[in-house]
Symmetry: C2
Amino acid sequence: MATVETSIACCAPLAAPVLNDEEALATAELFKALADPARVRIVNALATSAEAVCACEFEPALGLSQPTVSHHLKKLTDAGLLEREQRGKWAYFSLKRDAVKKLATVADLKGVCC
Amino acid sequence: MATVETSIACCAPLAAPVLNDEEALATAELFKALADPARVRIVNALATSAEAVCACEFEPALGLSQPTVSHHLKKLTDAGLLEREQRGKWAYFSLKRDAVKKLATVADLKGVCC
C-alpha cells in the first residue's frame, strides 16, 4: 500500500535556512488545515482532553451537523494532525504526538529572527 | 484613531484551557494568513534575513508580479505578523517580534497534550 504523504510529514519550519517549493506548499497546507475556527476548536478540545474524543461529542460542542464535523475531522486527519480509531459505530480522535511536535517546530521563529 | 485588531492580537493558543468563539476565529485567521506557499516563503525569507527586506526583492525571488506580492504582504501585515516601513518609493518588511513569539505560543501543544 502506498504511503500517504501528509502535510505534516512534508512541511518545513518557517525558519528553515532553505525552503523548496514542495516544502513551502506542504507547510502552507498544514496551516490551511488549521485555518478554520471549527478545526481550531477541535484541536483545542483534543489538546485539553486526557483521552481520545468520540466524533459524536463534537456535534453538540461545536453546534455543527455530523457531516460538517466529519468534514473537519477528515481535513485534520488528512493533514496528519489527528489519529483516528474506530470503536464500533463511532470513530475516536486524538492528536498525533509527532505532529504536535512538528507543528510547534514549524511555527517557531524565535530562535532565528528575534 | 481606532486600534486595528489584528488576528495575532486576538488569537489564543491551540492549547488554551478555554477558547471562546472570537479567539477561535482570530486563531483560524492567523493560520489562514500563513496558508499560502508564497506567504510561507515571504515569512521564511524575513526570518532568515538580518535586515528588513524591500518589497521589490520578493518579485524575482518568488517569480510573482508586483500586485500579487503586494497582496501577500498586505495579508501578512493585516494579520499582524509583519512590520512595514516606507523608505522612499519602496516599502521594507520585517517580522514583528511580538507576533513571532505569539505564533510560537499559539501553535505549541507540546506542554499540554503529549
